[in-house]
Symmetry: C2
Subunit: 335 residues, 2 copies
């Protein structure tokens, strides 16, 4: 196999690039920093989405779809975030054939829109907790990009919740870290995960506490795979998220936010892959078994075996391209 991939021990980042390219997971898009996620890469991401989404729903959150475009003025609401994001923003100045009166920003997160919506949707304590999530694309104009790990556009989910008390918000942020992210990463991705707190210096801007699931990669480094933030009342104050409590007062809500992205695909590759290529844990793999027919006469038998595996709930593919050399097909599937 040495001829197909750069060995990990020789150059790990290069090995990673080779696997992503040779296993046909993704490639660069024409606009700098964008990526084309090919069918295999998309199938892996879809399996991740399904597993994470099911856990988010069990945790009681509902999905919404907020818009791609944000008025530039919204971003000034959160001074701290502008600080963090401004140089990374993509700005639409022309649309409908003419210059816009106010430029619109392509969302770097949907945070400001969640803030505005929550401020409208929350009236009283009866509306709390409000547990929302969104699957979408976000854009951050990155200078140095690597497929799946850092790209100008990434696919992710972002959860945003509002609670009546600090304790409730803190408990929910921890529940997401533990029951959604860590549980998924350990049980489905079969990865060694260290879950814990970020140092104050590494906290998300505006957060009073940031928790993370760090995955351990084959080169001994850690990769941030998912984060969950307690935002205190900072975010609610910036967006006027207040509620009528049982005593008639109008306190600000306590909020959380949490996200995980296509970066998990990169983490999965770097955690399990070896010099022969990609290795996917069985619970995640889009294809768990491949039946290769070596001679044309065996094609029917291969389909028959695949059929009984499929009936037993196994995700199976058949390769009956007997006009392609067996060795070549075996290497390609192993990638």
């Amino acid at each position: 196999m040495a001829s197909v991939l750069t060995p990990q021990a020789q150059d790990f980042p290069r090995w990673y690039q080779d696997v992503v390219a040779k296993a046909e997971l993704a490639e660069n898009g024409p606009v700098r920093g964008t990526q084309i996620i090919r069918p295999w890469g998309t199938a892996i991401w879809e399996r991740m989405q399904a597993e994470v989404d099911a856990r988010i729903k069990i945790a009681g959150a509902q999905n919404v779809n907020l818009p791609l475009f944000i008025p530039e003025s919204y971003l000034n609401r959160e001074a701290e975030h502008v600080e963090g994001f401004s140089p990374e923003l993509a700005v639409v100045t022309h649309a409908g054939g003419k210059q816009l009166d106010e430029p619109v920003v392509v969302r770097p997160t949907s945070e400001t829109l969640f803030g505005e919506s929550m401020s409208k949707w929350i009236q009283s304590y009866r509306d709390l907790p409000l547990l929302l999530n969104q699957w979408c694309n976000v854009v951050r104009w990155e200078m140095r990009t690597r497929l799946f790990l850092r790209s100008s556009e990434l696919l992710w989910q972002e959860g945003h919740t509002a609670h009546a008390t600090r304790e409730d918000a803190a408990a929910y942020a921890r529940q997401i870290l533990r029951d959604v992210y860590r549980e998924f990463m350990v049980d489905v991705l079969a990865m060694p995960i260290i879950a814990g707190l970020k140092t104050p210096g590494e906290r998300f801007p505006g957060a009073i506490d940031t928790m993370t699931c760090e995955g351990m990669m084959a080169d001994g480094k850690a990769l941030q795979m998912g984060t969950s933030h307690e935002l205190g009342q900072n975010f609610a104050k910036a967006f006027d998220i207040q509620f009528l409590d049982a005593t008639g007062a109008r306190p600000h809500a306590w909020t959380t936010s949490w996200g995980a992205s296509t970066r998990m695909v990169g983490g999965l590759i770097m955690c399990h892959g070896d010099d022969a290529g990609l290795r996917l844990p069985p619970r995640l793999a889009p294809t768990q078994v491949v039946v290769l027919a070596i001679k044309e006469e065996a094609a029917d038998k291969a389909h028959e075996i695949a059929g009984s595996l499929r009936a037993a709930g196994v995700r199976v593919s058949v390769d009956d391209r007997t006009d392609v050399a067996f060795g070549r097909r075996a290497v390609a599937w192993e990638l």
Copy 2:
């Protein structure tokens, strides 16, 4: 109920707006023409996505994720499409804190990216048919917008396929119209659908044949719910999609494209809704049964009933908010 919704007979478009707002399906976003799809609207769309996606996979297509941004120069490849889309485009001129050398366009469709990718990925007849699909957001700067029916950003799937022969492409475009769109709309959405050919004047630019599924609305009008196009070799010629055939020649491929969007949610509302509100067909409804507890003592019983329904595979919700008047809750759920 007359006080909650404008009656259909009095003003159908107004009734539609009322249902979308009162049933909390969607509302306008802050940037003109964008929409916020709320939890109920999103749950309906997710059920549609799951049902359509399963049928697309049965038809053999694989999902990919192509980027949001397209170089402006790409759009000049298809003169006919620029003609069609130019005034509707949103253009990013600034990113990463400075002006871009070449502006990038927010995809109005992913067509040009599919074209470029197919031209790279297809080498020989062995790579055909290449059957691809994508779920994503696209942007068309619309002047007059209506929630779900016409918006600046819409969520959709767009399928793009390449075939070795005209017959194969034609058969596939028909298969998608029949086995994916019509079958889903009739069997799951329970809608009266007329499937057929568009007149040459209504064809998609560049298509040699456009087929459509038209849904019949309660006001007697038809709404286009999904289209499937035979693009002949026009698209393959614009993007150099050629393949080595068994004789050693390099003909252009025959391609198709097909799409359905969040507009289907609007169609579903206008087809089945009545003066009491939304009516969803059971196979689609995110919630099929609501168990309402009238008195506090009945809450346990309500959850018990819900439990046995859930065990029988029914999607069920429990409403035990006995501190809210029963009549108010009944009206709200009926919406």
